[in-house]
Amino acid sequence: MADLRTTIGALQLKNPVMTASGTFGYGLEFADFVDLSRLGGIIVKGTTLEPRQGNAYPRMAETAQGMLNCVGLQNKGVDYFCQSIYPQLRGLGTAVLVNVSGNSPENYAECARRIAALDDIPAIELNISCPNVKQGGMAFGVTPEGAASVVKAVRAAYPKTLIVKLSPNVTSIADIARAVEAEGADAVSLINTLMGMAIDAERRRPVLSIGTGGLSGPAVKPVALRMVWQVFDAVKIPIVGLGGIMNATDAIEFILAGATAIEIGTANFIDPAVTEKVVEGIEAYLERHHFGSIRELIGAAHCG
C-alpha cells in the first residue's frame, strides 16, 4: 500500500485530497455519499467575523465546462460557526479547516483568533481572493502589499497552520506568493476563481445579479496548473493546488506541477462522491507506477 500522507506546515494529512471552500458545505451535506474519514481534509465555507447575506439571486451561470458564481461569502459569522457548527465537525476523522475572509487586516485577524481557540481546527485557509465582494476579498489579493498586510495581521493572531488562498486575477501570481511567504504563511493554495461574466442574449442583460462572477470547473484547469507550476518555482512553502480537478488524473497533474495537496471544488456538484474516488484513484496510480509515497511526485514534472 502506497503512502499517501502529506504535510502542510504543522498539518499532517492522511492523503492529499481536500475539499474546496464553498463547494462541500460543512462536509455533513455529503455524508450520505462519501466516507468523510477517507478524505485528507475538509475546508469549510468562507467564514467572516460578522454574518453576511451574500449577493442577490441569481448567483450562478453554467458555462462551457464550468460555472460562474457570485455567492459573495454568505455565512452566519464566526461565532455561529464556533457555537453551532464546530461541535458537529469534531470526530469526523479528517482534518477540518476553515476558510476565513474579511474586509480589513484587523477583521481577518480577529476572525482567525476566534478560530484558533478551537482545538480541532488545525489550520485555516485565508481567503484574500474572493472576486464577489465589494470590500476586501480579492482587493487584498491582487497586490503583493495588500496580500502582505492581511497575512501579517493574521500571522500575529494565528499560531497554527496558515494557508493563504491566492487569486488568479493578477499579473504575476508568483509575486503575490513570495509576498505572503515573506510574512510567514505556511502554505499557499491556488487558484481561487477567475473573474468572468455571462450575458443573456435574449434579455440583453448580465445573467448574474452583480454582473460578474468567479469561473470554476474544468475550463480553468490549464490556467490553474500553469500557476501552480510558476509558484512552485517561486516559493519554498507547500502549495495546495485547485482549479477544475474532476478526477484522480487531474489531481496527479497538480501534484506533478508542484502541489503538496489538492482541493476538489466544482466537481462535487457533478458527482457528490468524487472526492473518495480521487483518493482511490491516486492510490491506484501510485501502485501502477510503483511509487512508494505520494511525496515522490510533488513537483516531479519540473525535473529533467
Binding site: F30, Y57, E62, M67, N69, G217, I270
Partner: protein
C-alpha cells in the same frame, strides 16, 4: 432522509407533446428509496457536450408496484433537450431524493394545531386540499395528489396553461381528484389565469383546508395572495437555478423572512409565510 446516487434505467419514454417527455425510470438493483411529493432529483446529462451541471427535476410520480420513478421534463435548453430525446434502456445517473416535500396531512395537522392552539382541528378525512399548478409545474402535483388520497385527503386540482396543449397528464390527475382547468386562450377550461377560475368563488362555502402550488413564479405569487386573503395555509414549490442541489454552493437562494435560504435544501417547498411575496 438518506440520499443516494443511483444508476437508473430508462424503462420507457413518452412524449405527451413535442418538447416534453415523461421518463419512467427504474432501479435494476432494487427498490427505489423513499421519496416525498415535492422533492426533486438531480440528473446527470451525459449526452450533451454543452451541459456541465446536473439538471434538477421534480418528482412527477412514484409507482411503487412497478418500482418506477417518473420525471416530466420540458426541453428548455440543451440539457433538458438531451433528456427528452433519450431512448429506452438508457442509464441515467441520478442523485435523490433532494429537498423537502410538501407537508403531509398528519404533519400539517400538527402545525395548524400548534398555530391556532385549538383542540378542534378538522379531521383529515373531511379535508379538501387545492393543488394549483401551471405549465410543467404541474409535475409534482400528480404524486402529491396520489399521496394525499392515500392519507385520506381529497385533492382538487386547478391546472393552468397558455392553451390546451400545455395541460399534460390530465387523465392521470383525474384518477385522484376533481380537475379544473384554465387556459389563457380559452381552448380548455375557463379562459384566464388559475387565480381567475370560478372555483375560488365557489369554494367560499366549503373552503379548502390547504393550498399547494407549483408553477411559474408570478402564478405562485398570485396564488399565495389568494390564499392569504382567505386565511388558508399555503405551500409553494420553487425552482430557482441550482448547481449542487445539496445546500453546499448557496447559488439557488430565495430571499425569505429568515434571510437567504437554499431552495435545494431548505425548500424547494416553502410555506408562503416564509416568503417575501
Amino acid at each position: 432522509m438518506r440520499k443516494y446516487i443511483l444508476d437508473l434505467r430508462l424503462r420507457s419514454i413518452s412524449h405527451p407533446r413535442p418538447g416534453y417527455a415523461v421518463l419512467r425510470l427504474t432501479d435494476p438493483q432494487g427498490a427505489l428509496p423513499p421519496m416525498q411529493a415535492g422533492q426533486f432529483v438531480e440528473v446527470r446529462v451525459d449526452d450533451s457536450p454543452t451541459t456541465f451541471l446536473r439538471r434538477p427535476i421534480s418528482i412527477n410520480f412514484v409507482d411503487r408496484q412497478a418500482n418506477e420513478l417518473w420525471l416530466l421534463v420540458h426541453a428548455i435548453g440543451a440539457g433538458t433537450e438531451a433528456l427528452t430525446t433519450l431512448h429506452e434502456g438508457a442509464t441515467l445517473n441520478v442523485v435523490l431524493p433532494l429537498g423537502n416535500g410538501f407537508t403531509m396531512p398528519a404533519q400539517s395537522g400538527q402545525v395548524e394545531k400548534a398555530m391556532k392552539d385549538a383542540t378542534n382541528v378538522a379531521s383529515a378525512k373531511a379535508e379538501r386540499w387545492l393543488l394549483v399548478g401551471g405549465g410543467v409545474g404541474t409535475a409534482p402535483l400528480l404524486y402529491l395528489g396520489q399521496q394525499l388520497v392515500e392519507a385520506g385527503v381529497e385533492p382538487v386540482f386547478l391546472l393552468g396553461g397558455r392553451s390546451a396543449a400545455d395541460l399534460l397528464q390530465l387523465d392521470l390527475f383525474e384518477r385522484y381528484g376533481q380537475v379544473f382547468l384554465t387556459t389563457e386562450d380559452g381552448s380548455a377550461g375557463e379562459r384566464g389565469f388559475v387565480t381567475q377560475h370560478s372555483i375560488w368563488d365557489a369554494s367560499a362555502a366549503q373552503p379548502f383546508a390547504r393550498i399547494c402550488t407549483c408553477g411559474p413564479k408570478p402564478m405562485m405569487v398570485a396564488v399565495a395572495r389568494m390564499a392569504r386573503e382567505r386565511g388558508i395555509a399555503c405551500e409553494a414549490s420553487l425552482e430557482n437555478m441550482m448547481a449542487c442541489g445539496l445546500g453546499a454552493c448557496l447559488c439557488c437562494v430565495e430571499d425569505t423572512v429568515d434571510g437567504n435560504l437554499c431552495v435545494c435544501k431548505e425548500g424547494p417547498v416553502f410555506n408562503i409565510e416564509k416568503l417575501k411575496w
